[in-house]
């Protein structure tokens, strides 16, 4: 199935969005945001993959070897690190929300209701 990785990325994004919308807990919601983000990693790496391609590192393979795309890999690797920091920020926001409302359930936060 040549479109399977792309469908996986779409599925991760949609299921992550479902988690965000239906969440009853801000910590759970932060995890769902991470699931959405991982959809982008799967999509990027899938687009850059070449059949029988090796890693684009030429320390001990000749430059003539067929390799996968390095650009999408670098996008993914920096974003994984940054995503952890962003999750930490979201969790600290969840702590602040708990201070104000005494709960982590978005439904119990009157000013978040819409």
């Amino acid at each position: 199935m040549s479109v399977l990785p792309y469908l996986l990325a779409s599925w991760l994004l949609v299921i992550g969005l479902y988690g965000i919308v239906s969440s009853r807990n801000l910590i759970h919601l932060t995890v769902c945001v991470s699931v959405c983000q991982s959809a982008t990693y799967v999509l990027l790496l899938a687009i850059g993959y070449k059949e029988h391609g090796t890693a684009p590192v030429f320390a001990d393979v000749p430059t003539s070897r067929r390799t996968v795309d390095p650009v999408v890999q670098s996008l993914t690797l920096t974003d994984i690190v940054v995503a952890v920091a962003v999750s930490a920020l979201l969790l600290s926001l969840a702590l602040k929300a708990h201070d104000h409302h005494g709960s982590l359930d978005p439904a119990e936060m009157a000013d978040l209701q819409g």
């Binding site: 040549s2 990785p5 792309y6 779409s10 687009i47 890693a55 590192v57 030429f58 999408v72 940054v82």
Partner: protein
């Protein structure tokens, strides 16, 4: 809006969104048939043009170093925001009220683990232009080596490196150094963040030119940023446990 209504609304809109997504990805080139051209160009150029064996790191710190600066500053902003948000909740810094690890065996292995992790981290950063690795991955490992001290030894030893008075300058120096290197390239008459140093022999530790410095700056920024975040949550946890929280 009730929960049922919200989910029903979501169901309708996500069905449309999913249909668009599937329609969109169906026209992508089939998996395994990357069409190029950017990746292929970089793969052909990174060794002859930039003397970097690892094309991925060549993209991160040289070809697209400017984009990575954005990522770096994003990390900086996230760590600074965590510190801002959490510090406001505490009366003051809490210190050495965490019980030290009582087992000598665990402490000894912990120190060993911290040293080994530190060396592995430095190795991963240093070889970023040769083998898989670089400032981002290595920076995370470097931060982990300091956290080992807290987990296996005691808070006092951990705080010698991990206290916010140390980790903040590390992070700031890394992020600031990254930008400063971009300006230094401007000063030599090149473009922002363009490589201005001797490129060295591909496959050697000295290869990479001025991107080596960019690599190390990002290692400092990443490890400093992670330690700032870890330190803030640690303080939060201790303040919570010992009731030194501001009320309301």
């Amino acid at each position: 809006m009730t929960r049922t209504m919200r989910l029903a609304l979501f169901g309708v809109s996500v069905a449309g969104f999913a249909a668009l997504l599937v329609w969109g990805v169906a026209d992508l080139p089939p998996f395994g048939h990357y069409p190029g051209p950017y990746g292929d160009v970089i793969v052909k150029l990174s060794v002859p043009q930039r003397h970097m064996a690892n094309a991925v790191t060549a993209v991160v710190f040289d070809y697209r170093g400017f984009d990575t600066m954005g990522e770096e500053l994003l990390l900086f902003a996230a760590a600074a925001s965590v510190a801002l948000l959490l510090r406001e909740r505490r009366e003051h810094e809490v210190e050495d009220i965490v019980e030290p690890v009582r087992s000598d065996a665990i402490s000894a292995v912990g120190v060993l683990a911290a040293i080994v992790t530190l060396v592995v981290g430095l190795d991963v950063v240093a070889h970023g232009f040769i083998t898989p690795g670089g400032g981002f991955q290595g920076g995370v490992i470097l931060a982990a080596s300091v956290i080992f001290l807290f987990l296996c030894v005691d808070y006092r030893r951990y705080a010698k490196v991990g206290a916010s008075t140390h980790t903040e300058p590390i992070e700031a120096f890394g992020a600031g150094g990254y930008v400063a290197l971009g300006i230094a390239a401007l000063a030599t008459g090149l473009g922002f963040l363009q490589n201005f140093a001797e490129l060295g022999v591909p496959g050697r530790l000295s290869s990479g030119g001025s991107a080596i410095l960019v690599n190390w700056c990002s290692a400092l920024a990443v490890s400093g940023g992670f330690l700032v975040i870890f330190g803030e949550y640690l303080q939060e946890n201790m303040a919570e446990r010992h009731g030194r929280r501001k009320l309301g």
